[in-house]
């Protein structure tokens, strides 16, 4: 065995190295955010937010179409994904403490790890191909499917935190279990469930791959659900891949908008979660 001095030296070296790793991880976030801010601020102004794209070279081009499109498709996804996810979460927490529940949980967890592009291909085969054209609706469905497992698992976790005494109190008053679950348990856990839903929204807001062959993209403002629709993420991809300097600037500005929204959501969730812990 090495001498004590050498062992101590190794100990200190490893402490320093692990600290360095932590510094690297933290620094890389700020490094990336710094570039997004610096790159995005150049082209960002009010008209950028309120105008739709114009032909190359024409001033006053914007991403209003993409912002509206993203908002519509994320809402659609939430309308589809949240009820399913919350109901499934209720089942898992209230009735899922057995082998069958574990099996479901296992599949749902595994579904969370499936690449989102696969969901895009799946929705293409069941919706876009039969309907013969790309549509915002299919984009919303793809995002909804992505949300389901996330919402289900966070809902389950949040509902599990509700003390059993509350359920028992409700049942002792003669209320049927479904009323206890919906009226007491779900209500008590509502902040937590809402936090989980926000987390799911933050996750799907940044998705591009499932929209590639469902909603596609569109260069003007549209609210028709049965036609292709623009989204912030697709627009960033499209602009970044183009050869035009001007579009690159727009990609950075759109990125700044998107990342600001997603980070704000994440920080809001963090604050909400902390408040809840302090109350408890």
């Amino acid at each position: 065995m090495a001498s004590l001095a050498r062992r101590k030296l190794l100990d200190h070296t490893m402490t320093a190295l692990t600290a360095l790793c932590a510094v690297f991880a933290v620094a890389s976030l700020f490094f990336i955010l710094g570039y997004i801010f610096a790159g995005g601020i150049r082209a960002l102004n009010l008209s950028f937010l309120f105008n739709s794209p114009k032909p190359i070279g024409e001033p006053g081009s914007g991403i209003a179409n993409a912002i509206v499109g993203s908002a519509i498709m994320i809402s659609l996804g939430s309308i589809i994904g949240m009820p399913v996810g919350i109901m499934a979460g209720i089942y898992l927490s209230e009735f899922g403490s057995n082998k069958f529940g574990n099996m479901l949980r296992f599949f749902i967890d595994t579904l969370t790890g499936i690449p989102s592009i696969i969901i895009g291909v799946f929705v293409w085969t069941v919706m876009v191909n039969p309907m013969k054209h790309f549509s915002a609706l299919s984009g919303g469905v793809a995002l909804g499917i992505l949300m389901m497992p996330i919402v289900a698992r966070t809902t389950e976790e949040m509902i599990r935190l509700v003390p059993h005494s509350l359920r028992e109190a409700g049942l002792a008053l003669g209320a049927p279990q479904w009323r206890v679950t919906l009226g007491i348990v779900l209500r008590t856990a509502s902040t937590g469930v809402a936090t989980g839903a926000m987390l799911a929204i933050a996750r799907i807001a940044g998705e591009t791959a499932p929209l590639l062959f469902t909603a596609l993209g569109l260069n003007y403002l549209s609210t028709n659900l049965l036609q292709p629709m623009a989204s912030l993420t697709f627009q960033i991809y499209y602009y970044a891949a183009s050869p035009y300097e001007e579009w690159h600037d727009m990609a950075w500005a759109a990125t700044l908008v998107l990342v600001t929204m997603i980070l704000a959501l994440n920080i809001a969730i963090r604050v909400l979660a902390r408040n809840r812990h302090q109350q408890a």
Partner: protein
């Protein structure tokens, strides 16, 4: 019986003279409780629906990739031709690109992620570790397409102008670092991926390490080991959980689409040089799906998707089992 009780209770309505009793008698009058089974059935339906989606996705993709399967069979996996004009398709170049980029990502990411996790659990106080963990999670919140944009315009030029020439002049004798470099290729994709999978490996490893009982550390320290030696023992005991974390990271790296598509160069070839453009399964689907001009071309892409699905499914299953084996059970009680 129900009717007599009901009749009686309606005849003698709730009155202060009979506290409690009428309430009990009235109870059976409450409609038979179909509410509860119905509730269980409805919520259960949705839970099964989500779990069933995994099966449905697989079936749907299998049905929609019949043409290439009939033509190439299992040989699809080992054919290295990808020629849409002559309608010859094989998955090997994409499998190669996927595996190599994921391996590069893991080689870079594993030591750093483990370092961060060890620092957070073994070295830092909760006051310091919680904010750092949050920042690492934010790294996971940044969308893939944003990583792609950053990689094209910041990382790739940086690597092309500074890192790759240095690599080539020092290690250029290896076939890995031969050839011309324009900054877009396998190595760049692997490096971007390494940053993207860092959060998941770190987060899961942190969970796993926290689940190892404090007593193990105390025992090691009491026997005279240094803190680092105690950490090694903790790692030893958390081995399967840490491998689970790494495999989860592998799953992410394999399925990551947008960022890779934007920097890997998109060329279906198997080349020894890491500087050369390549293709992953996910990026091939993203890049060619809307351009597929023939049915068999399209179905070949869907078959690629099926392969990706099956591989990530198995990887995720394996990873979850490994992580569960450590984080559930007695160790959990010692978490703060």
């Amino acid at each position: 019986m129900g009717s007599t009780l009901a009749g009686k209770s309606s005849a003698s309505p709730l009155s202060p003279s009979e506290p409690g009793l009428p309430f009990l008698r009235a109870a059976p009058k409450v409609r038979p409780r179909i509410g509860d089974p119905l509730f269980k059935l409805t919520t259960g339906f949705f839970a099964v629906l989500i779990a069933g989606l995994a099966v449905l996705i697989m079936l749907e993709m299998a049905i929609n990739s019949k043409l290439p399967f009939a033509k190439f069979g299992f040989g699809f996996l080992t054919r290295s031709i990808w020629d849409p004009v002559r309608e010859e398709f094989g998955a090997l170049p994409f499998v190669y690109g996927t595996v190599v980029s994921a391996v590069i990502a893991l080689i870079i990411s594993i030591p750093i992620s483990l370092g961060v996790a060890i620092f957070l659990v073994e070295k830092a106080s909760r006051r310091l570790s919680n904010p750092i963990l949050f920042i690492v999670q934010l790294l996971a919140a940044i969308p893939s397409v944003v990583y792609g944009l950053w990689a094209i315009f910041v990382l790739a030029p940086l690597l092309r102008n500074h890192v790759y020439p240095a690599l080539q002049s020092s290690l250029g004798f290896l076939p890995l670092f031969k050839g011309s470099q324009n900054g877009l290729g396998l190595l760049t994709a692997g490096i971007v991926l390494s940053i993207m999978i860092l959060p998941i490996i770190t987060a899961v490893t942190t969970d796993v390490l926290r689940a190892v009982p404090v007593t193990q550390r105390e025992a090691a320290l009491a026997l005279g080991s240094t803190k680092w030696e105690a950490t090694l023992i903790v790692l030893q005991n958390a081995k399967s959980g840490v491998s689970g974390a790494i495999i989860l990271g592998l799953g992410r790296a394999i399925g990551e689409t947008m960022a890779v598509t934007m920097v890997i160069g998109n060329r279906p070839q198997i080349s020894a040089s890491l500087f050369d453009p390549s293709f992953t399964i996910a990026s091939a689907i993203a890049n060619e799906f809307t351009e597929a001009s023939s049915e068999i071309y399209l179905q070949s892409l869907i078959e690629l998707g099926l392969i990706l699905f099956l591989v990530t499914f198995i990887i995720n299953m394996l990873a979850r089992l490994l992580v569960w084996s450590v984080t559930r059970g007695e160790g959990r009680g010692t978490r703060g």
